[in-house]
Amino acid sequence: MIKGIYTAARALDARMQNIEIVANNLANVNTPGYKRELPFSEVMDKYGNVQVQQASDFRTGELAQTSNPLDLAVSGNGYFVVQNDNSLQFTRNGKFSISSDGFLVNQQGYRVIGKKGAINIDKLQSEEPGEITVSNSGEIKLGDQTIDNLLIVNPDNAQEAARTSGENFILGTNSFTSTPETEFQIKQGYYEESNVNPVKEMQDMILLNNQYDSAHKMINYMDKSLDEANQIGKV
């Protein structure tokens, strides 16, 4: 009986944490490149311990058109790679700009990595003015001059990558392979919208709320039963 109360309390706790995940999805309903997080589920391993399975929904968001030549979207498979100090992170948010020292950077100021390393556009800017164009294969050109090719990668196990701010994922110990050019197209002047569907999230929220309610009722009943058990033997 007492154990039952703990089990139900555990359900209350898990639903509350799941609501936090849904709340974060809904808060990021307009964040470019945001990938929806699925409410976690608990599974029991062979030792009888409860393990948590957390997953991200990596489906592509809609591509929205802008007039900014430095808004890039990956259509198909793969991620942009950005460098924070010495660690690499990967992201689908291709809202880039030029930093004051001429590097192609993301919204957080992390440098975008090309096949030759960090992409510097400014050096050539003074010598040969021209438009920045990015081809479907990720080749960055300034006027007629090729600067670099964007590095587009696929992490070997994206689900295990930890999230961090700015729609970035930390590679950690994860290895990655560069994506073959046939599997993606870079769209210049587009960005990827968040893949959160508010209807789906509301559905999850209602479901979690009802499950919370059920667990709450269970505790109430068990409390009542324990109370009655305590009355036995009373004269």
Binding site: Y6, A9, R10, D13, A14, R15, M16, Q17, I19, E20, I21, V22, A23, N24, L26, A27, N28, V29, N30, T31, P32, Y34, E37, F40, D45, Y47, G48, N49, V50, Q51, V52, T66, S67, N68, L70, D71, S97, I98, S99, G102, Q107, D122, Q125, P129, G130, E131, I132, R163, T164, S165, G166, E201, M202, M205, N209, Y212, D213, H216, D223, D227
Partner: protein, 265 residues
Amino acid sequence: MSTRALRTAASGMYAQELNIEAISNNIANISTTAYKKNTAQFQDLMYQQVSVSPVSSTQNTSGTTANTLQIGIGVQPTSTEKIFTQGDMTQTNNQLDLAINGEGFFQVKKPDGTYAYTRDGSFKVDSQGKIVTSSGFYLDPSITIDENTLSVAIGSDGSVTATKVGGTTSVIGNIELANFVNPGGLTAIGNNLYDQSEASGTPTLGTPSSSTFGSINQGYLEASNVDIVEEMVSMIAAQRAYEVNSKTIQTVEQMMQMANNLKTS
């Protein structure tokens, strides 16, 4: 009691509030010459490692510590971005009304000697005959129209030809355009002017109609590029996003209420 979900939803509501502010500014400037619409940009916040369910009656026998999960704590607005698509051309027949068809900005000198950039070509002449913007800033390179001038003709390449009393014509100056690697990163400073910023890069000056620069059209003004339908749609989306975040708050509040009623008697 965990209030993380509440704060996450509040961050979402705050972000949508800023979104609405950007949209309302766009709508207010629907008739402003050469106004370029703004869009608010968002980014997700950091993620916290949370251990799952400390309430448990069973002991963890194998000693694994995999029971943590990442929970995001909301959204933050990062910047507003200008969208530099071409506005419609409206005919005015005023000889000093200029519109840029294509890329580029007029360069004007601010009173402190630094430069600002604008696409608003509704120029006037000041008391000394110099061409100024409607807010009184000098066009750069500066062009002076003297008192003997009957009319000026401005070519699509920016050359300014004056017809003087007596019928003689002469070129009195050339209008140059400035272009940026990333015009979306320019800082709007009001009065239809923009300042260069880290994000925009440094300006490249050039002759209109050459290479990537747009052409100059005399007697036209560029209208605002705000599309009222698009703004209304964004407003609906922002309002609904605001609403859905407020629903999160309601739901979490209900759950907290239930938690408070666990003990009934």
